[in-house]
């Protein structure tokens, strides 16, 4: 056994959550992956994981290194970037990714990308289509 393998074993035994708990959290993450365009919130996600909101948030952060809300926002902003690059308007994008208001969408988009949605859209058009901007869209509920 290499030094690295022994470290993996030690970390697995001493620092990771039990497999059953990880299973609940993986299920919740997959729930976000499948439904992030829907108006889901922490209460709904925690319920999918069969855990209380507080307990779920703490365990999710321990497991994935960020809160469920941060993860949900990352997923939504990632899709917003694809939609904007593909020509969707800011209003359409905001609506399709489950944000309540254009203002909160714009503020969050700027926080994650450093640009406003309209600035980002304009820049994508100026540099032309690329593989990164290819429209690979998940199922979006109307």
């Amino acid at each position: 056994m290499t030094w690295y393998s022994s470290q993996l074993q030690m970390i697995r035994e001493q620092h990771y959550l039990k497999a059953r708990t990880v299973g609940h959290l993986v299920k919740a993450k997959q729930f976000i992956d499948d439904r992030y365009c829907d108006p889901i919130d922490l209460r709904v996600i925690a319920r999918a994981a069969c855990l209380s909101r507080f307990h779920f948030t703490r365990l999710f952060k321990h497991c994935y290194g960020r809160t469920p809300h941060q993860y949900l926002t990352e997923k939504r902003i990632g899709l917003a970037k694809k939609l904007l690059a593909d020509g969707a308007t800011v209003a359409e994008t905001c609506c399709r990714i489950g944000f309540d208001s254009p203002n909160s969408f714009s503020a969050k988009f700027r926080q994650y990308t450093g640009a406003s949605p309209s600035e980002y859209r304009k820049k994508q058009y100026s540099i032309g289509p690329s593989a990164e901007n290819a429209p690979i869209l998940p199922r979006i509920k109307s």
């Binding site: 290499t2 030094w3 690295y4 993986v26 993450k29 593989a131």
Partner: protein, 128 residues
Amino acid sequence: MRIRLMSLLVDDQEKALKFYTETLGFVKKTEVPMGEHKWLTVVAADEQDGVELVLEPLAFPPAKTFQKALFDAGIPQTAFQVDDVEEQYRRLLDLGVSFSVQPTAMGPVRIAVLDDTCGNNIQLFEML
């Protein structure tokens, strides 16, 4: 400021290019001759505008010592994300790749560690 390049020291650039493209499945992005060595990068086939992996010649002797120490301890130089670790493990085993860590669950991640034949351990990881 952006992260566009990631360097990996390899003991033979031609051998590395062959392994990283033909075995792992990356795509050559740039190849610029520079005398004995070259500026050589590969990218993921489905993210060709993504981060470039620079296959750097291992010409600095102390770096060889450092690389060997990491390799002997089984420590990965870097990690690549895959959709399914088990599937990649089986595919690469069939291609003759050797693994120092077989597919292993680590909390919400599944990992495996392979030998890139160029002096490095490379970790594959799948986010569950």
